[in-house]
Amino acid sequence: MTFSQLAYHNIVRNKRMYAAHFWSSAFSVLMFFTYALLLFHPDLDSELASSSVTMSLLGTMGLRVSQVLLVIFSFFFILYSVGSFLKTRNKEFGILMMHGMSHRQFRNLVFIENMLIGCAASMTGIAIGLLFSKFILAMISKLLAIDNGLSFYVPVQAVVTTLAAFLVLFVLISLVTSRMVRVNRLIDLLKGSEKPKPDPQASVWLSLLAILLIGAGYMTVFSFATGLSYSLIVLMTGVVLVVVGTYFLFTQLSVYVMRALKRKERMYFKKTNLLTISELAYRLKDNAKLFFIVAVISAVAFTAIGTCTAIGHQGLAEMTNPYAFTYYSYKGNEREAEHAAEIKKRLDEANVSYREASAALKYAGNDLTFMKLSDYNNMAAALGYETETLTQDNEAFVVPTSVYQERIYSNQGAVDEVQLTEGKTKMAFQLIKAASHQVLPQDYGIIQLVVVSDSMYDKLPDNDREGGASYTVHGFVVDHWEKAGAVTDKLMTFFYPENKNNYEEGAFSFVALYPQWVMAKQANGLLLLVSVLIGVVFFTFAASFLYFRLYTDRERDQQQVELLSKIGLTRKELHQVVTRQLLIMFFLPIVVAVIHSGVAFTALQQLVHFSVGKSTLTVLASFFAVQIVYFLIIRWRYLRQLQKAMV
């Protein structure tokens, strides 16, 4: 046996102990590789760029940033888990040193072991990535709405980058960890792992403090959101309160609850409760810090991901341009009729059925923009809304021009009257109602859109200038516009032959819904891809760490199970005890995180006028699904180990 064989045997013969560590490392390599696969894809740039320059920038930036995040993340998690591996092996190191292993040899041993695992994990991660790269690319091009799909390619660059990044990472980890075991006296190492665990203790006051801090934190966040105190310091205070409270929740309150349950004898001595609770008290105390970290990071992640997806979604949800194609004509545009005809011709050629309507807008001053009743009715008809009538000349109604306005109008109605006092003109209109739908593409430039009778419209002054504009809108409603990608392309090149992404200032502008929709979908997809993959890696590490903790306790557990089975614990009861314990270990931190982020969302909801709930639910559900899978796998393995000890 040579020295490196010693290291090799340590790992191979302890493979169950290293399994979770190995697979989670391999998994994070796989995720990194997936990003690299995308980042270096020869077509990705052009495919994304075809929709927009910013999108391709967002794409590459997003992927790069997540790669960096992923590596930093993996570094700390692997460091943490290797560190605790080493601690459980104190006795082994003590024996080796007793037989003359020098510090240098010890560092070499740890280094070699880590590098072996690191290399194996990197290779495995990349191999799996290569094997499934075709599938991965197909999935991603669907997620990112890339029409032509991403073709398969030989990702030499991706492989090299991934290998290089993780080799560096594992070398660093090996260097750091090999210096982590401090050897003052051998006796400390030799006795190291034998220390009996003290009965878990918790203080009533600190447990109460946990509840108080979290409560106070929630209140503070709400007072920020409801505008009682509008300062970032208040928000930060709230967050800090909750974080500290969460710390005590896991280190004190959870243990305290277990102790309190123990005192309830009628409950405690009922069947397997005794086992479940007394074991849980230890496990909660042992893993309190891990649970704390998982809960806080998950809460932050849920909130961040939810907010991101909501914003990404906003493009889609609020993109309330009802027209597949919109043509704006400003003052001095001589080709309006020609262009309108051209659009119709092209649409006809492409066999796309459409309904067209146009409206002239007149800015009259006092933040008021006017539209003719007949134009409004044309547009409403094209969009399939009800038409309106005005019985008197001084009657008018308002039309929302943004989702925000739509909500305000429907909540509080419009003001009774609008007055126009511009120069010599003094006019007043009685507002009879507010239209329930927008008929124009969302336009924040219009402060209030008022529809008046055709005859009054002509009498209105035109004050086209800064702060308001008069122009004509041609809207084309197409029922299945998401399939009109080809004709959209042709029209874009017709109007903007030089650069179809450049909506330059001019006498007219042409907007198509299709590219905007693709862009929103891609932005959303990228954000989701980036955040969910990182989130999944985080959960993998956390789960593997729990597994490792269970595994290091296995001898004690097995002895206990052997003893219990001798005095008549059935298999079913064992299942029950283990399932309950693991359920709490796996889901308590996440439930706490969900509650925290739930509070954050309700607070956030007060600040913004779009719904953040729906997109978040999807994200939360997918994380829960991942966690359930890990729960099942680890429960299965752990039970198998314990059942071996049953007699």
């Binding site: 046996m1 040579t2 024996i95 037989h99």
Partner: protein, 257 residues
Amino acid sequence: MSMVEIKDISKTYAGKISYEALSHINVSIAEGEFVGIMGPSGSGKTTLMNMIATIDAPTSGEVLIHGSNPFHLSSEKLAIFRRRELGFVFQAFNLLGTLTVKENIVLPLTLDGVSVEELNRKVEAIAEKLGITTILHKRTYEISGGQAQRAAIARAIIHRPKLLLADEPTGNLDSKASRDVMETMSKLNKEDGTTMMLVTHDAMAASYCDRVVFIKDGRLHHEISRSDNQHIFMRNIMDVLSVLGGNRDDLFTVGLS
């Protein structure tokens, strides 16, 4: 010059109730000497061995080996000292679970970078002597307590140390195997001139020593040297033990052998 010089060492275990496990012990062991240490359970024998084996440091006093304090060596030199000159048999065997019996035995040689051929040759020889040839390729959880003990002894002597410290190496063995182990050790002592310290509860095993030191409650109690006859020596040891007290197990073992 003496090989081991124990100079006025005391050891107090700190804790809620601090406990003085050793108190002002002075022992000197000459080069090539074979010294037995006996005493009731809990009297501080393992503690004393740990001090000599550089596993633990005394609270006061010092242990000199070859006239110098090993704790003053650089960590690299201390490692080399442990690897080449020191052999230690733990009371609890302390075999490594991830290794086979053979791999456990060759550990000191592996750490010293000895060639595989030489290493194999030495393992064969020593396994033969201790009767564990058949279990060399088993893992440690597949062997009996006595076999594990012999493997631990093999590991402590394979590199022919200058100083061998053995904490109850025959505790789990039957009298035949005990005798074999003691013969092997005695031979090593005679042929190689290895200095040895042996902790034991067994008067038969102790009778192989040149001298037996008795401790009780952490203090030196008595010391007897061997005359020519091993049998007479054994009688003497048993006499002291009966005066010393100790638990029934000790007397029982003595009675058997």
